[in-house]
Amino acid sequence: MSEMTFAKALNAGLRKSMERDSKVVLMGEDIGKLGGVFRITDGLQKDFGAHRVIDTPLAESGIMGTAIGMAYRGYRPVIEIQFDGFVYPAFDQIVSQVAKLHFRSLGRIKVPLTIRIPFGGGIGSPEHHSESPEAYFVHTAGLRVVAVSNPQDAYSMIQQAIACDDPVVFFEPKRRYHDKGEVDETAGLEGPGGLDLGAARVLTEGTDVTLVGYGPLAKTCADAATAASDEGISVEAIDLRSLSPIDYATLEASVRKTGRLVIAHEASQTAGLGAEIAASITERCFYFLEHAPVRVTGFDVPYPHSKLEFFHLPDLDRILDGVDRAMGRPNSLSGTEEGE
């Protein structure tokens, strides 16, 4: 075990994958000498060469499309999208090609791409640098989608994603890049705790309410569980980890126990991931629910300028307010939704 930052853990996981399989290549803008704007690929071009760590022209559709061609040729490209807001030029190649190629070729063509996307807000960036586009990809059949939340998962899951024969959209919470944590570097592809890429993780066990978050908000959810316990509310905080497919077995087991569900994400509320989880859990656990699932999310607005971003982002207070609402507590700050 050694302590390292989130960013460094990703770097170490990429390195390990590249050592393991010579067909793993990294592609993206500024990932070579610069090591990426977040330095996630720091030093890798120096050590593996310009054929393995490829600075591409500034064209995301081009990156995605050529990565597909490299997959045809037997490579396992790992793409870095520089910021969340710049994945959209590649959307067509992702949705119509990456996601469908295995199906449309009757399983003959594998597309083991890993599409790394630093996502989410909270770092005071200008426009288009703080998006949370995960719902678009979760709604797209044929993709797997994960969001990592801590250095150990970053290290293990990037390796699992790269080893996975399906395309994986891999979300990294950019505001956590400098967080530090213990990482077991001997952990293999299965990862410590034996969690596979598709499994959620229970962060804190609890009995009153289930609180689901992912990516940047997994930590906030864990903190909320601690804060709530001071007030005598027992929160089971869960880090979703896999956004597609969602690990409903874990979520169901928890909600059957607690009867209450709060879901937190930074993305806008309407048709976001919270809606999917609320709907599916309601389907699966209707008679166990004591309150409607509560969503604590970004608002239905374009991601705002940085002076306002902390009003938009769910924080500890807003999540606790959501917990209060799910508990039907009268001191909820915003009142209950129902009957308004």
């Binding site: 022209p57 081009g62 499309g65 061609g69 490299m70 997959a71 040729r73 690990d247």
Partner: protein, 387 residues
């Protein structure tokens, strides 16, 4: 109100080795790529080679007509005729090596035929039995691509892989005149040039993108686009099978020898409708078609072959016979193609397990079982949509 015009995309004189009357004109740059078909390579049976090209063109046209007929008879959902483009497709296909990899659009059925695709694989997707036909790794040819231009990036990526492997394979991608407007096609030229990828961009400028004449896409001849990216480019008569063969061979040689990408604009004509769902009389003049019939790629090649004594009535008859036999086999294969199993809907979405989808599959199976068992309210009513 000021006016604007969109007229260009024409002009320049495409390279021609066979004039429409079937006369072979020597060409300084290209003759060296035609030594075998010109009879200048010892040990090569020139006549056999020429006849194989000729037969492929004749059979391809017949396959195309059969596709249209099968569609008209309801055996196929749609068919994209390539009649008129046989020289471009068969000429280029004969240049491409078995190890080379092809990324086509939807219209390269002639290329697939010449490359040896199984007949059912030519129609599978047009019948709606699957989204693709041949095995891409048996044919070294990607499934056909419907999203305009998307395949050109795949081709460049594959070629980058070839480069990184240090291999001598080359890659060819086909696309139309309309496709040149897409961002992806232009980005593919950026990547190809920057990485000096061994790829050949083969643009069949058949003058139309559905109802839009090429002048809407390009203000100057399309072949001029590529040099601006640093890619060598040539404009050839796409109805001249020898020009298509020679230009493709030249470009492949350039690719294999590490000299980077090439662009070929093959000037040809879509003699049929865009697809069987299209009605070209709404947007184009019948005279245009008549003009292009004068430049028919098969008639031209046949005249040339007759003039050098390679084609005679016997050869013609054999080709026609083969065409009929292939068409009949295609028809048989189509008509008897078994429908896919409903449960196959859930197959191959993922390479690995996916529990949410598996639950849907199980739900669907129970539902189907229920329907078949005649249970439930729904079973009393008739499903719409005619399944």
């Amino acid at each position: 109100m000021s006016t604007y015009q969109m007229t260009a995309g024409h002009g320049g004189s495409p390279i021609q080795l066979l004039s429409p009357d079937g006369v072979r004109h020597p060409h300084e740059r290209y003759d060296r790529f035609l030594a075998d078909v010109d009879g200048n390579v010892e040990g090569v049976d020139r006549a056999a080679l020429l006849v194989s090209i000729y037969e492929d063109m004749v059979v391809a046209r017949r396959v195309d007509a059969e596709g249209t007929a099968l569609q008209r008879q309801g055996q196929l959902g749609l068919w994209p005729p390539f009649v008129g483009q046989e020289a471009a497709q068969i000429g280029s296909a004969h240049a491409i090596g078995a190890d080379d990899f092809i990324f086509p659009s939807y219209r390269e059925i002639g290329v697939a035929y010449a490359r040896g695709a199984e007949l059912p694989d030519l129609v599978r997707q047009w019948r709606g039995n699957a989204h693709s036909g041949w095995d891409p790794f048996v044919m070294n040819m990607a499934p056909s691509q419907v999203v305009i231009g998307a395949q050109t990036l795949h081709a460049v990526g594959y070629a980058m892989g070839v480069l990184f492997d240090g291999a001598e394979t080359a890659v060819v991608t086909y696309f139309g005149d309309g496709a040149t407007s897409q961002g992806d096609v232009n980005e593919s030229m950026v990547f190809a040039a920057s990485f000096q990828a061994p790829v050949v961009f083969f643009c069949q400028n058949n003058q139309w993108a559905i109802s839009e004449p090429v002048g809407i896409q390009a203000h100057v001849p399309i072949a001029r686009r590529a040099p601006g990216f640093g890619i060598s480019s040539v404009r050839i008569d796409g109805n001249d099978v020898l020009a298509c063969l020679a230009a493709t061979r030249e470009a492949l040689e350039r690719a294999r020898s590490g000299n980077g990408p090439s662009f070929i604009e093959a000037v040809t004509y879509r003699m049929g409708p865009h697809t069987t769902a299209d009605d070209p009389t709404r947007y184009r003049d019948a005279n245009e078609l008549e003009d292009w019939k004068e430049k028919d790629p098969i008639a031209r090649f046949e005249a040339y072959l007759a003039s050098i004594g390679v084609v005679d009535d016997a050869v013609r008859a054999r080709a026609a016979e083969k065409a009929d036999a292939v068409a009949a086999a295609l028809r048989e294969a189509t008509i008897h193609m078994p429908d896919p199993e409903p449960e196959s809907l859930f197959e191959h979405v993922y390479a690995g397990p996916q529990p949410v989808l598996e639950r849907q599959r199980d739900h669907f199976a129970r539902y189907r079982h229920g329907i078949e068992g005649g249970l439930g309210a729904g079973a009393e009513t008739t499903a719409e949509g005619g399944r």
